[in-house]
């Protein structure tokens, strides 16, 4: 059973500083998204149980060739990468097109796993879009996945309870962060990651219309508001001030 795990290269969020209300991304190491690591762990566990291969799929700038070593160290068998500078920060529809076209080139994937949202923008759209493009069933918010013959039995966590869904394979499943605890790779696994098979395609080779739309995050911080300062010296003055402002005595 071949399992594709889609992973997004993002800046290491723990090392981003904010200056002038903007994230400073210069020299911030790149990593794979946190929930993507849960998706990978789920894929690796299923492979260990049922056999087959785990193929990491990622699209981004040329740094992704280095960043994907994290996933190869953490148990993936192979990587399939699409490289182009324009993919760095591309919007969800573009990335979904690229990933869906890539999946078609991977040998008989039974399961395509996503994290529920990316570590940076968390739009949570790409998995659903890929399922739609490939016309595959999709299950979201997965807290467990079991494979039974040619079906996946997935527990979904919803606001008012859990839902157990049975779905034919191949299928797209997006997982929650609490589905598992991602493993920490050993030194040996880290050092051998770079020697695992890696198929790297330029975007042009994939023959897909990637579009040119970018997501630009101006700021996720709440807007600053001017606050009025009123200094009082007694409770009487406080009541007077609140009455004047219209907060009491209305």
């Amino acid at each position: 059973m071949n399992i594709v795990v889609a992973m997004k290269q993002i800046p290491d969020l723990q090392q981003i500083r904010i200056r002038n209300r903007q994230p400073v991304l210069d020299n911030v190491p790149l990593t794979m998204g946190d929930i993507d690591k849960n998706a990978l762990e789920a894929g690796v566990n299923l492979r260990d149980e049922h056999g087959g291969k785990v193929i990491v799929l990622s699209a981004g700038n040329e740094d992704v060739e280095d960043t994907v070593k994290e996933a190869l160290a953490a148990g993936a068998d192979e990587a399939f990468l699409v490289i182009d500078d324009s993919l760095d920060g591309a919007e969800s529809g573009t990335i979904a097109n690229v990933l869906a076209t890539s999946v078609k080139q991977i040998e008989e994937p039974s399961l395509i796993l996503f994290g529920e949202g990316s570590g940076d923008n968390y739009s949570g759209q790409v998995g659903s879009r890929v399922a739609e493009i490939l016309n595959l069933p999709q299950v979201s918010f997965a807290s467990s996945i079991e494979i039974k013959e040619n079906q996946a039995v997935v527990t979904r966590v919803l606001e008012d309870g859990d839902e157990i869904v049975q779905v034919d394979l191949p299928a797209v499943v997006s997982v929650l962060a609490n589905i598992n605890e991602p493993r920490i790779p050993s030194v040996t696994q880290i050092l051998k990651a770079g020697r695992k098979p890696m198929e790297v395609l330029e975007l042009g080779e994939l023959k897909v219309d990637a579009g040119k739309d970018l997501v630009i995050t101006e700021s996720n911080l709440a807007p600053e508001t001017e606050r009025k300062k009123v200094v009082v010296k007694s409770v009487d003055e406080l009541i007077q001030a609140l009455t004047t402002e219209g907060y009491v005595g209305r």
């Binding site: 070593k69 920490i184 030194v187």
Partner: protein, 379 residues
């Protein structure tokens, strides 16, 4: 000149940090109080190859180089000086075996060591001497195809764990110190209770008593009378681990001091806004950065030692600077805490008890300066 870490080095650093923060940090206080490393932590360290990072794969190691070793040890040392001390002493013995051991010795003793099923020791110090090979009184008398060893060793790390011990004794043939590989659970081997040292708890120092310990002659390391070269080079490698441990301790103290300076309020302002505190923060930052790069450089140099004398000098000067600086930085972090820094409720007090040990172990600081001066004058 490129000071950037490779992706693999960054991943080794992150692996050790993740393990330290996720699994060691929650029990760091318990380790300090009980002077014992929990079994599942030792198992986790072994699974991540942290018992054999720099050693070749054919002997069970991870082939991660001493540069990978310093990065991982710094992260472990940040959270638990005792665990880092255990790994450092173990790696020191493995380094000596790796350089001086025969193929048979390496296969037999390095493989379980690198895999973490054995934890190794390096036993030179005795009640009457810590650094002078001429003063050791432990004896090895050749008896057919064995040596009979008698003597007492002091402050020996990991002497309580199963595995090999690289032990120094004056052999009766050469009349000089020789190195022997002693199996720690052999007949005639016994240990004291652990010394009740002030810090680095979890890393145990014990005395070792050898009464008519019978060691096969094939366990002689590098030939009769080769004790001094083994000691000199082995201890130099040991300083890579001790420096990394001290670096981790100082970085942890720096971060703790910085955090406190930002949180502690005085006259409605965090104390980090006061210039006297800022000067301390600057001093800590400067010292940490200097120590970090000196330590990383030593790891790089340890990967390819061409001249053991030159390496001994580099190791001695790095160990001296980093361990002494760790004390200075932690003292500054304590000063930022004021009286609270003296309280065991505050982490910085444990950090102080850990880092104060650094200048004294693996060759006391003054002895290291004599090595540096001697080799500098001889150059």
């Amino acid at each position: 000149m490129d000071f950037n870490l490779s992706k693999e080095q960054l991943l080794i650093q992150r692996m050790a940090r993740d393990f330290a923060e996720k699994y060691i940090e929650p029990v760091a206080e318990q380790i300090d109080q009980e002077n014992k490393i929990p079994e599942d932590i030792l198992k986790g360290l072994a699974e991540l190859d942290l018992f054999g990072i720099p050693f070749p794969e054919e002997y069970g190691g991870a082939d991660g180089g001493y540069d990978g070793y310093v990065l991982a040890m710094e992260q472990i040392g940040k959270v638990s000086g005792g665990i880092a001390m255990t790994l450092s002493a173990h790696s020191l013995a493995l380094s000596a075996l790796s350089v001086f051991g025969t193929e048979e010795q390496k296969q037999k003793y390095m493989v379980p060591g690198c895999k973490g099923t054995d934890i190794l020791s390096f036993a030179f110090t005795e009640p009457a001497t810590g650094s002078d090979p001429k003063q050791i009184t432990t004896t090895a008398v050749k008896d057919g195809d064995h040596y009979i060893i008698n003597g007492t060793k002091r402050f020996i790390s990991n002497a309580n764990w199963p595995g090999a011990m690289i032990l120094f004794a004056t052999d009766d043939e050469s009349g000089r110190p020789s190195g022997f590989i002693v199996d720690k659970n052999c007949e005639g081997y016994s240990i004291s209770e652990p010394w009740d040292k002030m810090g680095m708890h979890g890393g145990m120092l014990l005395d070792v008593y050898m009464k008519d310990v019978k060691v096969p002659a094939k366990n002689l390391l590098a030939g009769p009378g080769m004790g001094y070269p083994i000691l000199q080079l082995g201890i130099s490698y040991g300083k890579v681990g001790v420096s990394s441990t001290a670096l981790g301790g100082m970085v942890a103290a720096f971060e703790e001091g910085l955090k406190y300076a930002k949180e502690k309020m005085h006259r409605d302002k965090p104390i980090s806004r006061f210039q006297s505190i800022q000067l301390k923060i600057a001093d800590m930052a400067i010292k940490c950065e200097a120590a970090r790069w000196l330590t990383y450089r030593l790891g790089y140099l340890a990967n390819d030692v061409k001249d053991p004398r030159q390496f001994a000098k580099e190791a001695a000067l790095t160990k001296t600077f980093v361990c002494e600086t760790a004390v200075e930085v932690t003292r500054l972090a304590m000063d930022i805490h004021g009286s609270y820094g003296l309280m065991n409720d505050y982490k910085v007090s444990r950090m102080w008890r850990d880092v104060i040990i650094g200048p004294q172990i693996e060759g006391v600081a003054d002895m290291q300066k004599m090595i540096v001066a001697g080799l500098t004058l001889a150059d």
